[in-house]
Amino acid sequence: MTRSEITMQVIDLMEDVFDVDDLEYNDALTAADIEEWDSLSNIRFVVAIEKEFGIRFANSEISDLENVGAMVDLILVKKT
């Protein structure tokens, strides 16, 4: 699985979880950039990623993430 493939899937999930159409994605996106991204939807986002990619995050792994790009990198590490 390539980084760009993962990114495409993450974009789909973000559109669903944060209820946004045609998300203008870049790796630097954070919760501050998306209206619906609060602490609850953040957990839903994590759960959705875990389900989609069949992986599981430790709390420590996700609490340190700076932006979406870092999340994509983390998925990439877990999937390879």
Partner: protein, 644 residues
């Protein structure tokens, strides 16, 4: 990928629509009445995220929903953990149960203050019910108490605390509470000995649960048995330590849709919105096989076979439902006399005719029959649950009567009962004398089935099935199945002539006969070969030797497709008339009027009670049929070529 059924799955519901988010969006913008659209979306197995999205749309359209049949419910929530995910899922889940739920949740860590302070925002919300979502931590039951008498003391204190919160709600808001049992924590201190040792967490939680209903509930209060739900899922899946540590989320988020559904059942039941009547199909639902074809000796029911016992288990449970006041009805595509045979003659049948308040066996479409059943019982169709093994029947009923609960029961009879019960349609919050007597009450006015007016738009339904009908002459490939149908079909069989496979081969190669093997596929799958026709060609008259069809596809207009094919072939060869006989048997009463329905004229009575019919080919007009016909034209062409 083969997906094993997840213990979190809402197995009885269809999967969500593919363009779910787009439909929810349309719902928010659309100014017309959104209740039906919302109901259709909510009646699917939505996940955590989808429940949240739909919930927002419901909140946004709240005003226009207030005037619908959805029952308003203002639920106050005081939780000693993060209940937000569950709360978010409630409005969408509530619609599935006929509720329009509005929620107010006390702030995190403020549950007790909100409940105990009369001027809190919780009470300003004017709840009509308060859900006390307590957990072992909030109740002081999460730490072992191994001191002498410590366990008993802790449980008593937890019950007292619960009662004081309950009393505060009663006296301040004048409404009832929902109390919940506590899922057993996964961790064990001693192992099996936990259950013997007062003061172990497991012992305290289980003791609390046992005493809760008896000691802490007053009239108007209801119990949500969260512990039973967690056990049915499996405690190791239910608990998610990571989420608990990260955000005091009390159970796996995968469990939210299921948990919300169970909670809404209690809310709905408390408002009298539970289902009241279980309507049962017969063939392949209460027994295996088709009674009209297989006869009493041929159906599968009872000890000695896995399927037979599975059908027995369904009957057994239906009897238990009846004992607690759920009304039973039968809705089957059958001849009435055939349908009643197992009830009268099969030794292992558990259900008797007396158990069935309304018994409808006919060939009318089931949606119309369900309306009739509801009318007979003087209840609404929204009180019905319809159990049927046939996905096409289920779909038809869902289209015509979306308010009827129609569980997706799969194809293995062993799954029917677990899925039906998992759906929780008959959730109760009480049981009393009236319930005990109800079944007998309906029994007294048991209604006998009668022919019914056909209601609902049948053609729309048939078109929605995307049927493909293939009509081909006999060939080597179909020979074995043709012989099987010829020897097995009893009900839709005009002449009931039996032929061996060798004789079928004879028809296949004899130019004096026109033959058809007919297959039907629809969007639910391929029904395979379902009809066989053998016509003896004559100069001017073509005679119908054999015409049979599987009752599975009755009402799909396949017989009209067959006739139109035969007439086209006969016309091409210069025939003037098509002659058909109905030869009565104990089982083929269904097709007594077959030729009449197809536009044939009565010619003569036959010895032994049969009738002869004729169709004038010149005046026949081929109907427009709601299906794609394959092989018809090429059949005729191939025939023409064979003539040359």
């Amino acid at each position: 990928m083969i997906a094993l059924r997840s213990p979190f799955a809402l197995t009885w519901l269809l999967p969500p629509v593919h363009d779910f988010r787009a439909q929810v969006k349309a719902l928010v913008k659309d100014s017309s009445h959104p209740a039906d659209a919302i109901r259709n979306l909510a009646n699917r197995a939505l996940d955590l995220n989808q429940l949240g999205l739909l919930g927002k749309a419901i909140t946004a359209r709240g005003d226009s929903l207030a005037q619908t049949s959805l029952r308003p419910c203002r639920l106050g929530i005081a939780a000693t953990h993060t209940a937000d995910f569950l709360v978010e899922a409630l409005p969408a889940t509530g619609v599935r149960h006929g509720l329009l739920i509005d929620t107010y949740q006390a702030d995190f860590g403020q549950a007790a203050q909100a409940v105990l302070s009369p001027s809190s925002a919780l009470y300003n919300f004017k709840p009509d019910m308060v859900y006390l979502a307590l957990d072992p931590f909030g109740l002081g039951l999460a730490q072992p108490r191994l001191d002498e008498g410590g366990g008993e003391e802790a449980v008593a204190a937890a019950l007292d605390y619960t009662k004081s919160l309950r009393d505060a709600v009663h006296s301040t808001a004048g409404v009832g509470v929902i109390l919940q049992t506590l899922p057993t924590p996964e961790l064990s201190l001693f192992g099996s000995f936990d259950s013997c040792q007062p003061g172990s967490v497991r012992w305290m939680v289980q003791t609390f649960n046992q005493r809760l209903a008896a000691e802490a509930m007053k009239p108007g209060d209801n119990l949500f048995d969260c512990a039973a739900l967690a056990e049915s899922v499996g405690l190791s899946l239910w608990h998610d330590a990571s989420r608990w540590h990260a955000g005091k989320i009390p159970f796996s988020l995968d469990a939210v849709p299921l948990c919300a559904d169970h909670l809404c059942r209690v809310l709905a039941s408390a408002r009298g919105l539970s289902r009241k009547c279980l309507v049962l199909d017969l063939d392949n639902t209460l027994w295996g096989g088709v009674i009209g074809d297989d006869g009493v000796e041929g159906i599968t029911l009872g000890q000695g076979s896995g399927d037979g016992e599975a059908f027995l288990a369904i009957q057994n449970y239906a009897k238990h439902l009846r004992m607690r006041g759920i009304v039973l009805a039968v809705c089957s595509k059958n001849e009435d006399t055939n349908a009643r045979l197992p009830f009268l003659k099969h030794e292992e049948m558990l259900l008797t005719e007396d158990d069935i308040a309304v018994f409808v066996a006919n060939w009318t479409d089931k949606a119309s029959n369900l309306k009739y059943i509801a009318r007979s019982l003087n209840i609404g169709t929204e009180a019905l649950v319809f159990l049927d093994d046939n996905p096409a029947e289920r779909e038809r009923v869902r289209q015509e009567l979306p308010e009827v609960a129609v569980p997706e029961v799969g194809s293995d009879p062993a799954d029917f009962l677990p899925i039906l019960t998992a759906a929780g349609y008959f959730e109760a919050v009480s049981f009393g004398d009236e319930d005990r007597k109800r079944a007998g009450m309906y029994q007294a006015n048991a209604v006998r089935a009668s022919e019914m007016q056909r209601i609902g738009n049948m053609d729309d339904y048939l078109r929605s099935l995307d049927m493909e009908c293939s009509l081909r002459p006999f060939d080597a490939m179909g020979r074995a199945r043709i012989a099987q149908l010829i020897n097995k079909s009893n009900q839709f069989n005009l002449t009931t002539r039996r032929y061996t496979e060798a004789e079928v081969l004879g028809f296949e190669s004899d130019p004096a006969f026109y033959t058809l093997q007919i297959r039907l596929a629809d969007r639910f799958g391929d029904n395979g070969m379902i009809s066989v026709v053998i016509i003896e060609k004559g100069e001017s008259d073509w005679r119908c030797d054999t015409w049979l069809m599987s009752c599975r596809v009755l009402g799909r207009r396949v017989e009209e497709a067959a006739l139109s094919n035969v007439v086209a072939a006969a016309e091409k060869e210069g025939a003037m008339r098509l002659i058909g006989d109905w030869l009565p048997t104990p089982k083929n009463g269904l097709v007594e009027k077959h030729f009449e329905h197809l536009g044939f004229e009565f010619v003569d009575d036959l010895p032994d009670g049969g009738t002869r019919w004729a169709l004038d080919i010149a005046s026949y007009k081929a109907p427009e049929l709601p299906m794609a016909l394959a092989g018809a034209a090429e059949t005729v062409d191939a025939l023409a070529k064979a003539e040359i």
